[in-house]
């Protein structure tokens, strides 16, 4: 069990070691879905939710596998459970809120291959977080992901109007902006020790 306080875990996961900008996890949706502010917010919310569920599941799996002495099955079980969870969430959302389901569209199934989700599950086990710590960590990571996505979407909406040389438009420009954002997030390094 790690000794870190809940506050420092939260700030560490959301700001200092932001999943997107410091660990490069979830880059695919970060680059793909950050074109519009509205979709970015929804995607962030969906990812945060799945992260929380996956974190709880991962904690249970890890405890069970450790008790059985089968740690090498960890990765396989994690990915299967995450895929199943995403499927369940998809069915649940479809049933309870068709409007939200249509809005999320293709993003929901894509979350399965979002490395940020598996990253949360792997990091919390590697660092030996307890149950409450894991949940706080997942929440922080999800909020950090949403924050990065929304910031990026806002900047890209403005860039649409800017007069940028033709050659730079597209992936390269997005990457440069992401790099500058990442530099900016390094400023949080002093927070919370």
């Amino acid at each position: 069990m790690s000794e870190q306080s809940l506050g420092s875990i939260f700030i560490g996961a959301s700001l200092i070691n932001n999943f997107v900008l410091a660990y490069f996890l979830g880059i695919c949706p970060f680059l793909g879905v950050s074109g519009k502010l509205a979709t970015a917010t929804r995607m962030g919310a969906a990812v945060t939710f799945v992260m929380l569920v996956a974190s709880v599941c991962a904690f249970g799996i890890d405890a069970a596998l450790s008790a059985l002495g089968l740690p090498f099955l960890r990765l396989i079980s994690f990915i299967v459970v995450i895929a199943a969870t995403v499927q369940l969430v998809e069915m649940f959302v479809k049933k309870t809120s068709p409007a939200l389901f249509r809005a999320l569209g293709i993003f929901l199934p894509l979350i399965t291959t979002n490395c940020a989700i598996l990253g949360v599950a792997l990091f919390q086990t590697n660092r030996g977080y307890g149950f409450v710590q894991s949940i706080v960590f997942a929440l922080g990571a999800g909020i950090g992901f949403t924050l990065a996505l929304v910031l990026m979407a806002g900047i890209r909406e403005q860039l649409e109007l800017a007069d940028v040389p033709d050659l730079v438009r597209g992936a390269a420009l997005t990457l440069v902006v992401a790099g500058i954002l990442s530099l900016g997030f390094m400023g949080f390094a002093g927070l919370g020790g």
Binding site: L21, Y23, C28, L31, I79, V80, A83, G170
Partner: protein, 224 residues
């Protein structure tokens, strides 16, 4: 329509074309922008980049081979889950292999070895190529794409290590008076280096196509 009944593409390319496709024309890093997470995260030194590239190559070739040989037996509804299970199995093997070969390397790459599972490149090749082509061609495709991925990683890792540490594969390149560019080792250096490579390739592409045609690479990127 099931993938099992799909005939191979009309113009069956030679095996060398299969290899070159992934290596250069459809390079997963620079052209398709797939599997960006490991590309940016572990390319801070050339050694890490090479190890990551080879690990991905290994998983890609073997999973392509297995997916292709099972393509007539896997029901369409559960194919993605099956692919992920196959990939996860090979990734676990790679993880244990690297741990056995070099504990240092295993520590440096950390969770990113396990994260090969969710590399969209591997699942993408399984779904788009291996599930509808013969075992031999799938193996070649995996080899080409994996090699292209390794080249891309190495291109990033070499630049970042030379500028960030003043060395290449741990050997000093510049005299001791060289001031390392610390930003290159930091996460933002990864973004900047990849952006620079993309620009370079787009500029080259454009010069070739003539001034009229727009640069294909810069616009087709960022698909997922």
């Amino acid at each position: 329509m099931t993938p099992t009944t799909l005939p191979p593409a009309a113009d069956v390319p030679s095996s060398s074309a299969e290899l070159l496709e992934g290596l250069w024309r459809d390079n997963p890093v620079f052209v398709q922008l797939l599997g960006m997470c490991p590309v940016l995260a572990v390319s801070n030194t050339a050694r890490n980049a090479l190890a990551m590239g080879l690990a991905t190559l290994f998983v890609l070739v073997l999973s392509n081979g297995l997916v292709s040989s099972l393509r007539r037996f896997v029901p369409r509804q559960v194919r993605i889950a099956t692919y992920i299970l196959i990939i996860a199995t090979f990734v676990t093997i790679v993880d244990l292999l690297i741990q056995a070969i070099s504990l240092d390397l295993h520590k440096a790459l950390g969770a990113f070895i396990s994260l090969i599972v969710v590399n969209c490149l591997i699942l993408g090749r399984a779904e788009a190529f291996a599930s509808r082509n013969t075992v031999g061609r799938s193996l070649l495709d995996g080899l080409g794409m994996g090699a292209g991925f390794t080249v891309g990683l190495l291109a990033l890792g070499a630049v970042r290590e030379v500028l960030g540490f003043g060395s290449l594969f741990g050997l000093a390149v510049f005299p001791a008076t060289f001031q390392p560019w610390v930003v290159m080792i930091l996460p933002s250096g990864g973004f900047f280096t990849l952006a620079a490579w993309l620009l370079l390739i787009a500029a080259r592409q454009r010069r070739r196509a003539g001034a009229g045609a727009p640069a294909a690479i810069a616009t087709t990127g960022v698909a997922r």
